[in-house]
């Protein structure tokens, strides 16, 4: 049973990654010419022809695609057209910088969003609930870059407390991490609230109250575990948003991470680098969703043996 599960999930993951590679390849190849993007508009015809020949860009798009796919399967993700370095090296070099804002940002989302949502649900229709929900609406309707610029204006330009961009010290981390965290925290707070409100209204919670079980115990043992399922689903989906958040955050704060590398590589149609980044993100997403599925089994006993809802009536 378990083996079959891993096998089908593995196949589906491979299909997803193949789709990512293909779509990126087609879009990047059809939307611009790396030779002109990298060498410049005033490069000589000869240089451009030479560039195309050496990178195999003079072949038909099918030949290029098949060649690229072959190389990827052999484990060779190619070299950057900009400086000829290995694409994997170029990406890995930037990885720590991105993780250093992504991981704290994600943790911030969880530790702010989930408790805020639970609190809001437990104090439903009080000033606290309205405060949390209003700020959550403000936070998640505001585009990330607006929020980032707002933070810069307040904390860097007006108060001079924190640097407005760049990297190096811990102080440089604060604003990017806040930017990464707040959007997700706001989303999570809203979803957690509605999940908890939903569980609070369920009959078995009323029954638990009627058995004289204290409220704190009901919340911790009966409400939170039951509300976890939809929240975990949202967390899985939010991981994708994290990458988008990194692109925006790193651009605004000139953070030397993968997000900014992605932006510059796309601009110069540096296929190998873009592909490497997207493959990495794709793998991370596939793994994250796999973890979410495993968490489902833990959270809902009905899904545990892959038998679905097999309640026998009678």
């Amino acid at each position: 049973m378990m083996l079959e599960f891993f096998f089908t999930r593995g196949l589906r993951a491979l299909a997803t990654l193949l789709l990512i590679v293909t779509i990126t390849f087609v879009v990047l190849r059809l939307s611009g010419d790396p030779a002109i993007n990298i060498l410049g508009l005033d490069a000589s015809d000869e240089a451009i022809r030479e560039f195309r020949r050496s990178w195999g860009l003079d072949q038909s798009i099918w030949v290029q695609y098949v060649r690229y796919l072959q190389a990827v399967i052999e484990g060779n993700l190619g070299r950057s057209m900009l400086d000829g370095r290995s694409a994997v090296d170029a990406v890995i070099e930037r990885l720590p910088a991105t993780l250093s804002i992504m991981v704290p940002g994600f943790v911030l989302q969880l530790v702010v969003g989930i408790p805020a949502g639970i609190l809001s649900a437990l104090r439903r229709n009080t000033w606290l609930d309205r405060l949390v929900m209003t700020s959550s609406v403000v936070c998640f309707t505001m585009p990330g870059f607006v929020f980032a610029l707002l933070l810069v204006m307040v904390f860097a330009v007006t108060l001079h407390w924190l640097p407005s961009g760049g990297a190096g010290t811990l102080a440089h981390l604060v604003l990017p991490v806040l930017t990464m965290g707040f959007f997700g925290a706001a989303t999570l707070a809203r979803f957690t609230r509605s999940a908890v409100v939903d569980v609070l209204g369920q009959p078995h919670i009323r029954a638990a109250t009627l058995r004289g079980i204290p409220r704190r115990r009901i919340v911790l043992l009966h409400v939170v575990p039951n509300a976890a399922l939809p929240v975990v689903t949202i967390i899985g989906l939010m991981l994708g948003g994290l990458v988008a958040g990194a692109v925006i955050t790193e651009s605004v704060f000139s953070w030397p991470g993968i997000g900014r590398l992605l932006v510059t590589s796309v601009a110069s149609r540096d296929l190998a680098v873009v592909q490497t980044i997207l493959l990495m993100v794709g793998t991370a997403m596939v793994l994250a969703n796999f973890c979410v599925d495993l968490a489902y089994g833990f959270l809902d006993p009905r899904l545990r043996h892959g038998q679905g809802n097999s309640a026998n009536k009678g």
């Binding site: 009627l210 004289g212 309640a311």
Partner: protein, 335 residues
């Protein structure tokens, strides 16, 4: 013998919008209106009526799940608290509830055995986990569940087994009063009958007092010692089960009875209720039942009949009840 549960003038109004509009005025909905009854220890009182007649609300009020608008509920001489204080929690140990829909009243994430044990932990009964587990397992055998089902999840059990878990969970605190709100209406007839028998066995062996709410007259007839019939939040008739089923005096009760299919070769002439089911938001003047009553007179439209005694332990709220003196007691026994 003093009564164990004493309910006096119980009234519950809900405030609801009179229409679908945003600005339609709020009007009070009388879910339960001046209901009084009492229960002796070890007795079963059946509460019957159509859906929406306020029988479930009565059950929830008795358990102190919400505050009544008027009226008092005394459990063994002490008022039932509605605020969740220490007294309220202590009273949880004396009265519990059995629910209509067992699946939604169980936490699907916890093994059923742990759900049965939980009240013991919370009320600090039993000195160790092992002792609590032993007590819970003993209850499993009382309600007819296998010991190996202790670790099952609700979805792994059948409907009847879930209802047994609910019963075990209610009994684990050794309550004295059990409010059963349609305990078998979600089950198949045969499974329901088993659960009804189980409820009766448990009552005998533990001396429980039941408030048994149901729309199913056949089941009420099986389990109840006395029955109250409710219509639009009010008691219209109260009698011992035997008398009520042999000779209903309120026209509504008569109509309810004749709606039950019978195997008798010569069934009584069926008395069907006219008109549509009542709307609790538009309670008629006078007798609440008069728009649908075949015996309604001018008086019924203007004056509300009070619940009055017509015989020992027998009351009815009707201006024109069926005459109890017409048919002789001997004739009754043959029915």
């Amino acid at each position: 013998m003093p009564s164990f549960l004493e309910v006096q003038g119980l009234t519950k109004h809900f405030s609801v919008r009179s229409g679908a509009g945003l600005f339609s005025p709020r009007i009070p909905l009388k879910a339960v209106d001046d209901v009084s009854f009492s229960l002796k220890k070890g007795e079963t009182l059946g509460v019957v009526g159509e859906s929406g007649c306020g029988k479930s609300t009565t059950g929830r009020l008795v358990l102190g799940m919400m505050a009544p608008t008027h009226g008092s509920i005394l459990l063994d001489g002490t008022a039932v608290h509605t605020r969740h204080d220490a007294v309220w929690r202590a009273q949880r140990q004396r009265m519990q509830m059995v629910y209509q829909d067992p699946v939604s009243f169980l936490d699907r994430r916890l093994p059923v055995g742990r759900q049965v044990m939980e009240p013991l932990t919370v009320h600090s009964i039993g000195s160790s986990v092992a002792e609590r587990r032993e007590k819970a397992e003993a209850l499993f055998s009382v309600v007819g569940l296998r010991p190996d089902q202790f670790a099952s999840y609700p979805h792994e059990l059948s409907g009847g087994q879930r209802q047994r878990v609910i019963l075990a969970r209610a009994l684990v605190l050794d309550p004295e009063l059990l409010v059963c709100d349609e305990p078998v209406s979600a089950l198949d007839v045969s499974v329901g009958a088993q659960v009804v028998n189980l409820l009766k066995d448990v009552q005998l062996s533990r001396g429980l007092t039941y408030l048994f709410i149901s729309h199913d007259l056949k089941i009420v007839r099986q389990v109840a010692d006395r029955v109250i019939v409710m219509y639009l939040g009010r008691i219209v008739e109260e009698a011992a089960t035997q008398e009520l089923f042999q000779q209903p005096v309120h026209p509504y009760t008569r109509a309810l009875m004749s709606a039950v299919p019978s195997l008798k070769p010569h069934p009584q002439r069926r008395l069907s209720i006219q008109g549509s089911p009542p709307n609790p938001m538009q309670v008629p003047n006078g007798c609440v039942f008069h728009p649908r009553c075949p015996r309604a007179s001018k008086l019924c439209q203007t004056e509300r009949p009070e619940l009055r005694n017509i015989a020992a332990n027998r009351s009815v709220a009707c201006h024109h009840p069926e005459d109890t003196t017409v048919s002789s007691p001997r004739k009754l026994e043959t029915i």
